[in-house]
Amino acid sequence: MNKRLYDLVIVGGGPAGLAAAHSAKLNGAKNILVIERDRELGGILQQCIHNGFGLHRFHQELTGPGYAQRYIKLVQEHPEVEVLLDTMVLEVKQNKTVLAVNPELGVFEVQAKAVIFTMGCRERTRGAIRIPGKRPAGVFTAGAAQRMVNMEGYIPGKKIVILGSGDIGLIMARRLTLEGADVQAVLEIMPYSNGLTRNIVQCLDDYEIPLHLAHTIVAIHGQDRVTGVTCARVDANMKPIAGTEFDIECDCVLLSVGLIPENELSEEVGVSLDTKTNGPVVDQRRQTSLTGFFAAGNVVHVHDLVDFVSEEGEIAGKYAALYAQGKLPENYRTINILAENAIRTVVPQKIVLDHASIDPVRLFMRVGKPEEKLLVEVVGAQGKVLATKRLPIAKPGEMIVLEIPIDKFADAGEFVVVTTRQAVKA
């Protein structure tokens, strides 16, 4: 097989991959290949026809396809960026050979100088959360249903119960209401929603759809097609409380019960994963534990705003481009970042120091549960506080962003801790 050589191969043509391609081009990468398995670029954005995308990036409210189109245009303006659609990457090897397949070229290999993983994420399923009951037609993940409604033009049900109040579930509650379906209720096993506040208001409250917190589905009924569900309140350990069961009649159950970064390829090639984010451990350049392999977007950690995905794609694109050209500044020290107290995850998990970079570091953090009046502190090994941020409210669904000048890390020691305490004055 004749291997073509690319500076950069990007696996996935969603928002992270597109931003990475654009940024890599601006940073001097000569030939860039974006490999996308779907029939068009844009990833899941193409099925997100609601608005609210791009407020940070473009200072406008765009739809998902609208947001995607901006990046698709940017990428298409560069003849150096080659795109392969309808193409599945089968394997990525440590020597940066990428094996892929499509109907036109068959099985083929390309050789990259640097690889960026931007495969996004997948949805947690009924099986993963063990919902008991029968297995009739009419149980869908919210994203699969969204694709059918918005891209293929079919609806998954007429009387709907949604389990999980993640953003996709909330958006689908509104979307299906607009299509004429009756959304009976949204159930959430946690005592709080994981969705953005604006989505709770605009997708449930505005349509008087009830949200039952601390509730779950204990049985799905129906032989051929779903006929209803039995719900129950759950205790502090998320176990259903006997005697609290009630039935809801419906013909469809949508699951919005979490997203999992899609790291099969990265794992196979040997990239180290963070057990909390389920994505690769990356430094602030978005380089993974394997030299020359970068990652960005939901494959690293699940974002709530696409604007941050693009930002991460740009970072990965830039440094992968520099790596491919042999211009990535040599680093002389690695600082690990640890999460503590209310902070559950931090990305990047490492900072590398070199003699050239001046870019500030942006830490993306999530709390484990809702908190009020939180003081976030980034503390060096010697107890020196590098940065602080006061938050009146912090929710697991909303990413906390904290920018720190890179020179602050210069005397930080071997690790820094991102920690929290209750703020006296928030």
């Binding site: 398995r37 109907p103 099985v107 063990r130 037609a137 293929e152 004429g180 097609r225």
Partner: protein
């Protein structure tokens, strides 16, 4: 099908038993029709069970179960090659944790020797842990049965049906038997919603419904008690935790909850055993799940619960007599039962088919070999298992093999189309899943479900809203509702 069709033999039920019989009878110059009430075959007990080719030490000597288990197990070695079945001859272990269990193992060993099971051996604790290092360290010993294997029951049923159809058997799906019509105590045909099928012989292979079918002919000689078993299936990521079929020492009632690999490299745990009133009740329950998790953890303490990808349950078709019911009806001439086929029914199926053919012969049916009979199915293309060069060749031949539809299992559009077009082709999303594995992986069809639906609609020339998941009324999507789009309140 016309309003009136004729055949020599009608087989009721497209499970592993019905399809094995159809394939066996297709060797002879007989006109055979297989009828199945669901849109696809293998949709009952055959699709949800432990998928084991049992060695045959479990059943008591002199039972049909014992004889046909050992014979069936041996037959699968030939069938594996002829029909390209996915079989792995892993061997099985029955693990003892107490002195009482050790006594049970000795009984099983003796019983197995009487049943002529080859290669049985008692293993010491160290030998067991050498074979299965992840098992509980409390293990005292185990009975090793090298002839046991694992396979794909629905794959086998589809392969039997494909081969039967290629050799002239007709398959009518969505065709339940409404009445077995007899005149002067002798079968003359089967009434179905699609018309009357005239025939002299009816074979009752209706699984959990076999007693109901028998009653359609006025034969109330046995009853089937549905006994449900629940399962949890785990991701391939943790598939190396066990390499062989691992049973606990059995109780009087059940072989117990096992930990077992699948031919595709997953592992599963289950089944429990619960007698149920409703034959359709294939629900899973929180109590059932906890029961199988608790029991499985006794064998495999580090059970990776986080890696569960799906749960399901199946129903065993247990006859009240405790053994297989394979015989002529004593009430109606021409009705032959192949009923009460619970474990080890999958293993025994091809042997059961031979017995049924023998019964037909004893009834005076002339079994003239069909000169054109071809015992082989063409080898299906499994993209993932091909070498690079073979992959390339397959795509050059048919570009659809270059489009991956199911990401988790790497299943291409070419395989899905082939599954729909094969002689016993898939008509439903679950039918595609059974034949190709599309949707069986960790995302459970989250990505490929809509695409498989679209391919089915295209290939079957139906609309997307007519595509079904599994059973006759299990439609997946609706047409969008016509909506009013009026602007009100404007001047």
């Amino acid at each position: 099908m016309q309003n009136e069709t004729k055949a020599d033999v009608v087989i009721i039920g497209g499970g592993i038993v019905g399809t094995a019989i159809a394939r066996e009878l297709s060797k002879y110059q007989l006109d055979v029709i297989l009828i199945e009430k669901q849109p696809d075959i293998a949709a009952g007990t055959t699709k949800a069970n432990s998928a084991i080719l049992h060695a045959g030490f479990d059943a008591h000597p002199d039972t049909l179960k014992a004889k046909l288990n050992v014979r069936g197990n041996a037959m699968y070695h030939e069938l594996e090659k002829e029909l390209h079945l996915d079989v792995k001859w892993t061997g099985s272990l029955v693990v003892a944790k107490t002195d009482e269990d050790m006594v049970t193992l000795k009984e099983l060993l003796e019983r197995g020797q009487q049943n002529k099971v080859p290669g049985l051996a008692l293993l010491t604790k160290d030998e067991v842990l050498l074979k299965e290092p992840n098992l509980s360290k409390d293990v005292k010993g185990a009975l090793w049965a090298p002839s046991a294997g694992i396979f794909l029951p629905f794959g086998a049923a589809v392969a039997f049906a494909d081969n039967a159809i290629s050799n002239g058997v007709r398959l009518f799906t969505e065709c339940p038997a409404e009445k077995i019509v007899a005149e002067a105590g002798k079968v003359v045909g089967v009434q179905t919603p699609k018309g009357f099928i005239g025939c002299n012989y009816v074979i009752n292979a209706a699984g959990v419904y076999a007693d109901d079918i028998s009653r359609l002919a006025g034969d109330d000689s046995f009853s089937i008690t549905p006994r449900k078993g629940e399962y949890i299936l785990f991701d391939r990521k943790v598939g190396n935790l066990v390499n062989t079929v691992v049973f606990p020492a059995p109780s009087k009632f059940s072989k117990g909850i096992l930990v077992c690999p699948t031919v595709h490299g997953n592992i599963f745990i289950g089944p429990n055993a619960q007698e149920i009133a409703n034959k359709e009740d294939i629900s899973t329950s929180p109590t059932g799940m906890s029961e199988i998790i608790d029991r499985a953890q006794e064998l495999l303490p580090n059970l990776p619960l986080r890696e569960a990808i799906t749960q399901f349950s199946g129903v065993r078709a247990a006859a009240d007599c405790g053994d297989f019911v394979i015989r002529n009806s004593e009430f109606v001439a021409g009705l032959i039962h192949a009923a009460g086929i619970q474990s080890p029914g999958l293993t025994a199926a091809p042997a059961i088919a031979e017995v049924v053919a023998e019964i037909l012969k004893l009834n005076g049916v002339e079994l003239k070999p069909k000169p054109s009979f071809n015992s082989h199915n063409p080898k299906p293309i499994v993209f993932k298992e091909l070498s690079l060069a073979e992959k390339q060749a397959a795509i050059e031949e048919n570009p659809l093999y270059g489009r991956v539809i199911c990401r988790c299992e790497t299943i291409t559009e070419g395989e899905i189309v082939a599954a729909i077009q094969q002689p016993c082709g898939a008509k439903t999303v679950d039918g595609v899943k059974r034949r190709t594995r599309a949707g069986m992986g960790r995302c459970q069809g989250g990505f490929c479900g809509p695409r498989v639906t679209a391919i089915l609609a295209r290939e079957l020339n139906i609309s997307v809203s007519q595509v079904r998941k599994e059973s006759a009324e299990s439609y997946l999507f609706y047409e969008k509702m016509p909506g009013d789009c009026e602007v009100t309140g404007h001047e």
